[in-house]
Amino acid sequence: MELLCPAGSRPAVKAALKAGADAIYVGLRGDTNARHFAGLNFDAEGLAEVAALVHRQGRRLHVAINTFAHPCDYAVWQRAVDDAVKAGTDVLILADMAVLAYAAERYPSVERHLSVQASATNAAAVEFYQKTYGVTRVILPRVLSLKQVSALAHTVSAELEVFAFGSLCIMAEGRCYLSSYMTGESPNNSGACSPAPFVRWQEQEGVLEARLNGYLIDRFEPQENAGYPTLCKGRFEVDGEPFHALEEPTSLNTLSLLPALQRDGIKAVKIEGRQRSPAYVAQITRVWRAAIDQLLDNPEGYNVSGAWNAQLARLSEGAQTTLGAYHRSWR
């Protein structure tokens, strides 16, 4: 089982390698990837350096080019693929059918993984991408339950990768337009959800208001932990009652599911968070490295250590974690 860790900068790459990641995934500057944030990601030259760094340690580099090409800028997405291949990436993580076709034709020998943004949730979809573009691995959306992941693992021949830890998308990724409804920009059309330039913080008599493009997403009392106003995690009113109508600010944590994922032959577990600091990446990676090593060493004796969970909880949104859709009760 491969531990795949995020990096948005060179220090984060180094931190992940040192903490024991088997593979690192990164993005290129610009809107060809779904973490298009200021100061994050790599240019072509930086990417080549990172590839060399990763390969020197015998690990693998994945490059996410997982947004959808704009109609007049298809060449930008083609160039991103060219740059990634030239830099020496081992894997391309792709979502757009146009970019998948380009990569498959131009660079057939470079491994192609289907991004979560392509939203393949069922065997027919997985087989479509396998047959049409030769993808060897599919990253599953976070909407599937463990039972569904398991059923899929037993049906399809493609490798499967699941999200193990980090921010939780509650909507099927790649099919959520909530962000563009409120701001005009979405992961699909701009590479970011609830983009930072639209966020405003205002303090009113001790109450902190978080707004997105002017709309009130949440109000925090002084004793509350104020989180980033991702729009699906706000407190809204249904029938006059304010609550987290869509989702609480929590992080996904699947440490306890690791043996089941291993039994189902899940090929890789992915840590979310290319936008996070090197320190965050290092701490999370260390916990997951220890967990996977313990599991591989002694599957029967696997036991989620309290220290691991405590450490992860400290790094989690709202200091809370959840099994998300993997556990039916969440649904």
Binding site: A125, A172, R175, Y181, R219, V238, A325, R331
Partner: protein, 303 residues
């Protein structure tokens, strides 16, 4: 020039999208009875949101399909958007195997099945087609009608359709635009309607049936932001492009009206009047049209 726009507008077909909410069977039948007598050209039938909603089954939809076809409508069977379980796929296959009516594919898995069967199909708005190269592939796979992703603007669409890849295939498919109703914006594993009633999804008791227009979600400042419709989240505002029809001339072949619990048949007549350049009822103050004008979807631009 103006005459040309008028002529081209009158060629825009009116389609009635699948009912996105959960309505009692008799309500559904009554609705389609009215649609049958309306100026709608195309009618999409089927459950696209939640597999637990079984007021009507495939045989019931086929019966409605025959009635609507006899009334002169083109009928398309719409399929589920979020396909998760083997049972969902078996249901999808039953729809694809109906042998009579074409299918609207709302998941790429459906595109795969239909391509294998060599059947023509409509591609729904939740399939990610953002550029000419993707569109070209979909046409090769058998797409004959394309419902544009809801977040695309007129400008994006125009740029896309004017790419050289599209020129020689433009006659092979029709372009349809979501033009009326609450916009479907997201699909989840979680059922938000059940959650709003403090129920678990597994014990939802099919409570969606109590909300024929979904449940509105407001900000704490009373801005209407979203609409909960089971596992689907929709726009809070109703989308309405009736005043924007002239800007679609030459670009759009069909506009879709998504059934709302009230007044939709009346709005079919209004859209018909608008495309025929007769007097029609304008957009209402709360209706939005932002996406079409490259704004946030929630916004409204006066035209």
């Amino acid at each position: 020039m103006f005459a040309k726009v008028k002529d081209s507008m009158s060629h825009i077909k009116l389609s009635v999208g699948p009912i996105l909410y959960y309505w009692p069977a008799e309500y559904v039948r009554e609705f389609y009875h009215r649609v049958a007598g309306s100026p709608a050209d195309i009618v999409y039938l089927g459950e696209t949101v939640c597999p637990k909603r079984r007021e009507l089954d495939l045989p019931d939809y086929l019966q409605l399909a025959h009635q609507l076809r006899e009334a002169g409508k083109e009928v398309v069977l719409s399929t589920m958007t979020l396909l998760e379980s083997p049972a969902d796929l078996r249901m999808l296959r039953r729809y694809c195997d109906n042998g009579e009516f074409t299918i609207e594919a709302n998941d790429i898995g459906a595109v795969g099945l239909l391509r294998e069967q060599g059947l023509p199909f409509t591609v729904g708005a939740a399939i990610n087609c953002y550029n000419a190269q993707t569109l070209h592939q979909l046409v090769q796979f058998g797409m004959t009608r394309w419902l544009v992703p809801v977040e695309l603007s007129r400008e994006w669409l125009q740029q896309l359709l004017s790419q050289p890849e599209v020129a020689d295939i433009r006659s092979a498919f029709a372009v349809e635009l979501f033009a009326f109703g609450h916009l479907p914006l997201a699909w989840s594993a979680r059922c938000f309607t059940a959650r709003s009633e403090n129920r678990a999804k597994d014990e939802c008791d099919l409570c969606c049936i109590k909300y024929p227009d979904g449940r509105p979600v407001y900000s704490q400042e009373r801005d209407k932001l979203f609409t909960l419709n089971g596992i689907q989240t929709q726009s809070g505002q109703r989308y309405n492009l009736i005043d924007d029809l002239p800007s679609m001339a030459g670009l759009i072949d069909a506009v879709r009206l998504s059934p709302q619990a009230q007044e939709t048949p009346n709005w079919i007549y209004e859209f018909h009047a608008a495309r025929s350049s007769n007097t029609y009822r304008s957009r209402e103050p709360d209706d939005s049209n932002g996406y079409w004008h490259r704004l946030a979807g929630i916004k409204t631009l006066s035209v």
